[in-house]
Amino acid sequence: MTTKQLALVIDLNVCVGCHACVTSCKGWNNAGEAGPLTDQNPYGADPSGTFFNRVQTFEVGEFPKTETVHFPKSCLHCEDPPCVPVCPTGASYKRAEDGIVLVDYDKCIGCKYCSWACPYGAREIDESQKVMKKCTLCVDRIYDQKLPEAERKPACVLACPTSARLFGDIHDPESEASRAIREQGGYALMPEWGTQPANHYLPRRKTEKHLHADELVRHDNPLKVDGKLPRPDAGEPALDDVTSW
């Protein structure tokens, strides 16, 4: 746990499901080292293509207590990635220096075995190039010295309008990503398989307002100014009528 482990932390509390991360990822990687990410039937029936990141929608609960959850998913860069050891060619590997799980397209024989070994469905074969592809954490961006520091981040992170995607080293306890995981209940997907995904998700968090009865009964009620608050009614019986001291 000492070396670097880069990852995304995805905040489901603010993700609105806009798919900006989806097409920004496609755009960057299509033009970059992983590209082209090919499409099948782009203008015909059932268009389909290679994407590294998809945004899905789930509904939790029943009307009217329904939560709609927008759920972005890309490779989680598992700390113990089952997809890597199974690869017969070594095309799939996890980088020692920063924990990014990558595929070497020149070595890949397209046997798909690694995709079977990923419980998350994070790998997609490029149907035209016949090699396995997946999220690279934009490894061809994040170290690019030609880019200004602030832009050395994955394309999806820069695109996300709600900044629902934090990027950083989750082994560095001081990173924004680590802090978010620690302080906002970050969790891993399918922990039952021990893959230790590096990417984490932040849960929905609700802000509620509790009103106290006395907040509605106040001396500064503006109705008083206009003489509108109920005045005591002189006609009703009072102690005065029934007692003498």
């Binding site: 798919h19 994407f51 899905q56 789930f58 509904e59 089952p82 060619t89 046997c111 075995y113 419980p119």
Partner: protein
């Protein structure tokens, strides 16, 4: 999973080839039977290998697959398979105890490798059991024995009956093993649920959209997409053809080459169904993320 014919063919053809080898080696067959048997075993293995190439996106790079034998059962299989094929060839040309035994070791290793390719994946619970290796091995042996019996009935009738009897015994065991795994799998409760998949604790979660409407690799590779009836039919086919039907033929004509050959073909058809079902039955947890479009 979505059964790939390349893999179904490979595992069944190679399994039969392996079983045939083991049968002939165990019986210490020789002469024409041995030569023909080794040739057929090689042919089965070769056909399997050929089929497996169709599974690859880049078959021309297949040689690279030997690289990761330390970690990958697939890589190990890629090494053991040609080694075994070489041994089969050698044994056919120069039969000898030591060579034959080496071949048998390689043969068993190949069964283990093939089985482990599936059994090593922790979250494919249907495959994650020693029964996977047992079944691959026993089913391969049973079909190999049936093939050996048929071959013997033609080339060396004296061996036909013992092969047939062995085929019945091993076939019965294999059948039991397969039924055991069916029974086991029927009781499996998926460890992953939508709740663990997206990390929201609630008993009622439904997917509405998966982010791609025209399908994706994920919808094509991990789910057969066939109606339930087809899957059920595959199971009945396998239950009928893997053992009972060929066994009946074997019993009807333990020395008859045509009947034994028919038994082999029936059994092989049963194995195709069995292997198809093996893949189709496996529920990949990734499918939790690919249930609905909108």
């Amino acid at each position: 999973m979505n059964p790939a014919w390349s893999v179904v063919l490979f595992t069944t053809l190679a399994g039969a080839g392996q079983g045939l080898y083991l049968a002939l080696f165990a019986a210490q067959a020789g002469g024409r039977l041995l030569q023909a048997g080794m040739a057929i075993a090689l042919a089965l293995l070769g056909a399997g290998l050929l089929a497996s190439f169709f599974h690859l996106g880049h078959p021309e790079r297949a040689w690279r697959a030997a690289a990761m034998w330390r970690t990958s059962w697939l890589s190990r299989e890629v090494i053991v398979l040609p080694a075994f094929m070489a041994l089969v060839l050698a044994y056919g040309l120069m039969p000898g105890m030591a060579l034959g035994a080496l071949g048998a070791v390689a043969c068993v290793a190949l069964f283990v490798c093939t089985g482990m390719i599936y059994a090593c994946l922790p979250f494919l619970q249907e495959w994650r059991t020693p029964l996977t290796i047992v079944n691959f091995t026993l089913l391969g042996c049973a079909s190999g024995l049936t093939a050996a019996a048929a071959l013997a009935a033609w080339l060396e009738p004296a061996l036909a009956r013992p092969f047939a009897q062995a085929a019945l015994v091993v076939g019965a065991l294999a059948y039991l093993g397969r039924i055991a795994s069916l029974a086991r799998n029927a009781r499996l409760r998926p460890k992953s649920t939508l709740a663990t998949a997206i990390g929201v604790k609630h008993p009622r979660i439904r997917q509405i959209a998966q982010g791609a409407m025209g399908g994706s690799f994920n919808t094509r590779e991990f789910f057969h997409g066939r109606p339930r009836e087809v899957v059920r039919a595959a199971r009945w086919t396998l239950l009928a053809l893997v053992f009972p039907a060929p066994a009946a033929l074997v019993l009807a004509g333990p020395g008859s080459a045509p009947l034994l050959a028919a038994a082999f073909l029936l059994q092989y058809a049963g194995l195709l169904a069995e292997r198809w079902y093996f893949f189709a039955e496996a529920k990949h947890p990734q499918n939790l993320y690919y249930q609905s479009i909108a």
